[in-house]
């Protein structure tokens, strides 16, 4: 594929609002996970909650979108001068030439969960104040972002479970290459809700402890929330040497099971190979792999097999979910931004909370930060339904 420039990016998660705070937390190898105290949830688990979401307000004319998920999107858009950069791109290209591609798994379903608690005892009706289309519907966050940024190009939400906001990079890249748009606002937003907290608990996939990807005693995920966005455009003539580029996107399906990965990671392997092929790179061209690394026994086992099957046992890799939690539909975009920070700052972030690496996992999992030039990063995102997406980012210079 033709490489694209990430001309601006931002992310907000439990390890910080904006990229500066996130980088500091990664450098200090801290985690944002805490015992679950979300809403009325009564589960023995840890969560990654973004500070200040409930206090965030939406602009008056977009009040119909008001819900935790869109508040989180708004909070994230305000960091790192991202809104200003989007406006500059819209003036440069024309608002109809900038597309919007946002990944989410549950959007604002929390609104509906709360509305079901407030049903009319006689009729069973939901409260009249409850708005479905602009809060719960999967498109609501993409629609909020496009209206907030006054963009008029093609707009869509991707909802492929935990691969959602990695897949947006593929869609945006194709639409730019087809010439339908000149730039794309891509990203992902997923916020804490009862459906995912109780749902993963019912599948016995969430850990009571902070998640420990690749640990011999790993026992599940910690759910987090995040919003992360990037602006993608064609490479300008005068490319700054410090710029980060999207080099490759690889996608595949497992054809195996709705909620369990292929045991040998065949689908994951296909996605990584497709991304390498799109980027015209050999496995040796990747300096660091940001793993999907959820911390469930089965994900880490199959991903490790897939990684070593392609890269062998000596490419450093880690999961940043011990720090951020698994941010589900926002994970692809969040980890894309972490990949960009890794390249810009020569940082391979060590996986926090992991103490004893599972000897059965042969990939080179790093627990301590490594500081070294990072030219290219591969980032994995896999989801329920057996959907896989790998992204490759690289330094311009």
């Amino acid at each position: 594929m033709t490489p694209l420039l990430l001309s601006q990016f931002t992310a907000s998660s439990c390890i910080g609002l904006g990229v500066k705070a996130m980088l500091t937390t990664l450098i200090e190898q801290r985690s944002g996970l805490k015992p679950c105290d979300f809403e009325t949830v009564n589960i023995d688990t840890h969560i990654g909650e973004v500070p200040g979401v409930d206090a965030q307000r939406l602009p008056a004319k977009l009040q119909i979108f008001d819900c935790r998920n869109n508040r989180l999107a708004e909070l994230a858009l305000q960091q790192d001068g991202f809104l200003e950069s989007v406006q500059a791109a819209a003036s440069r290209f024309g608002s109809r030439r900038v597309g919007v591609f946002v990944g989410t798994s549950t959007a604002g379903i929390l609104q509906t969960e709360l509305a079901y608690r407030a049903r009319d005892p006689e009729s069973g009706a939901l409260p009249t104040s409850f708005e479905y289309g602009t809060t719960h519907n999967t498109f609501s966050v993409a629609d909020y972002v496009r209206q907030r940024c006054r963009l008029q190009g093609p707009a869509v939400a991707h909802s492929s479970a935990c691969a959602s906001s990695a897949k947006v990079f593929g869609s945006a890249q194709r639409m730019i290459q087809a010439g339908l748009i000149d730039a794309a606002l891509v990203g992902g937003t997923d916020s804490l809700c009862l459906t995912t907290l109780y749902g993963f608990h019912s599948l016995q996939l969430s850990s009571p402890a902070p998640c420990r990807p690749f640990d011999v005693a790993r026992d599940g995920i910690s759910i987090g929330e995040a919003a992360a966005f990037a602006l993608l455009e064609r490479l300008p003539g005068n490319l700054d040497a410090g710029s980060v580029l999207l080099l490759g996107v690889g996608e595949s399906s497992d054809a195996y099971h709705m909620s369990a990965p292929h045991p040998e990671g065949l689908g994951a392997k296909r996605a990584m190979l497709a991304a390498l092929s799109a980027a015209s790179l050999e496995p040796g061209g990747i300096d660091y792999i940001n793993l999907h690394g959820t911390g469930t026994p089965s994900n880490d086992r199959s991903e490790s097999q897939a990684v070593t099957g392609i890269f062998g046992p000596s490419t450093p890799c880690s999961s940043t979910k011990g720090a951020t939690g698994h941010t589900l539909g926002a994970a692809g975009a969040l980890e894309a931004i972490i990949s960009a920070l890794s390249i810009k700052n020569g940082l391979m972030p060590g996986g926090v909370h992991t103490t004893r690496i599972d000897p059965a996992l042969t990939a080179l999992y790093i627990k301590e930060n490594r500081r070294a030039p990072v030219r290219r990063v591969l980032s994995n995102s896999f989801g329920f339904g057996g959907t896989n997406c790998s992204l490759i980012f690289g330094a311009a210079g």
Partner: protein, 265 residues
């Protein structure tokens, strides 16, 4: 780059629409439109254990996807797929929200796995053994048009066959009253970059400011407005007529999609 592709096969299922040949007869006026509850097929391709777990959203999506790939003579395991829907499984969502409103908060693990927006895409991959990429989209009422754009860009940029599956099902009450989709409806199409044997038409899509086409039959127009995937009806009507022409489809508040159709027959 022109957003153009050959259309190899179509699948349709909805209220009073039982398959593409019958829908084509209705859309060309050769048969009257008789609204009736959508009859959903059992997804025979799925292993029995999986089949038991599938809801209406999977049945309608797999039903039209199979009809389209079969009509196109396409290998279902090889085509990339784009699933576009304005919601996930409304009944599963209702059951989960209801369970979460009770003090016990017992969510069924199978229901939770089936609650994802990409549930139909997941079962399609399992049913056909397809390891090809699958994109799962939502653009509320504009979901069909968004899926069409994604399918055509994939066909043109990646140079491969792409299956578009657009579908919606109803929410039960009380959500039904907030999102009144009356029944299930699905539309599937197979696009290829090169002309195939039996290709129906070559189509080309562009964004436009023009107003979208309406259906002349008031009941079909009501259907077009009631179920997001039925926003495809003006395009299906043109294709059913088998002649070249143009269809303007509903999309976002700021734009529509114009589809130029050149018949291959």
């Amino acid at each position: 780059m022109k957003l153009s592709a050959y259309l190899g096969g179509i699948g349709v299922l909805g209220p009073g629409l039982s398959n593409w040949p019958q829908a084509a007869a209705v859309l060309t006026g050769r048969q009257p439109y008789v609204p009736a509850a959508t009859v959903l097929p059992t997804p025979a391709l799925l292993p029995a254990a999986e089949r038991r777990r599938t809801g209406r959203v999977v049945k309608v999506a797999l039903g039209v996807a199979l009809e389209a790939t079969s009509n196109a003579g396409a290998d279902a395991a090889q085509v990339a797929s784009v699933f576009a829907s304005s919601g996930s499984d409304g009944h599963v969502c209702h059951e989960i929200c209801q369970a979460l409103a009770l003090p016990t908060r017992e969510v069924s693990p199978t229901r939770f796995s089936n609650s994802v927006h990409n549930v139909a895409a997941g079962y399609w991959s399992i049913a056909t053994g397809s390891q090809a990429p699958s994109s799962v989209l939502c653009a509320f009422d504009a979901s069909f048009a968004a899926g069409l754009l994604e399918s055509l860009t994939q066909t043109c940029v990646d140079g491969r066959a792409v299956l578009l599956v657009a579908y919606d099902t109803e929410y039960p009450p009380p959500l039904y009253f907030k999102r009144p989709i009356p029944d299930a409806l699905g539309v599937a199409m197979v696009f290829t970059p090169e002309k195939t044997m039996g290709a129906l038409a070559r189509i080309e899509a562009t964004l436009t400011d023009e107003a979208c086409d309406l259906m002349a039959d008031p009941q079909l127009e009501a259907l077009r407005l009631a179920i997001p995937a039925a926003r495809a009806l003006p395009l299906l009507r043109r294709l059913a007529a088998g002649a070249s022409g143009r269809a303007i489809l509903d999309y976002l508040d700021v734009s529509r999609i114009a589809v130029q159709i050149e018949s291959c027959s």
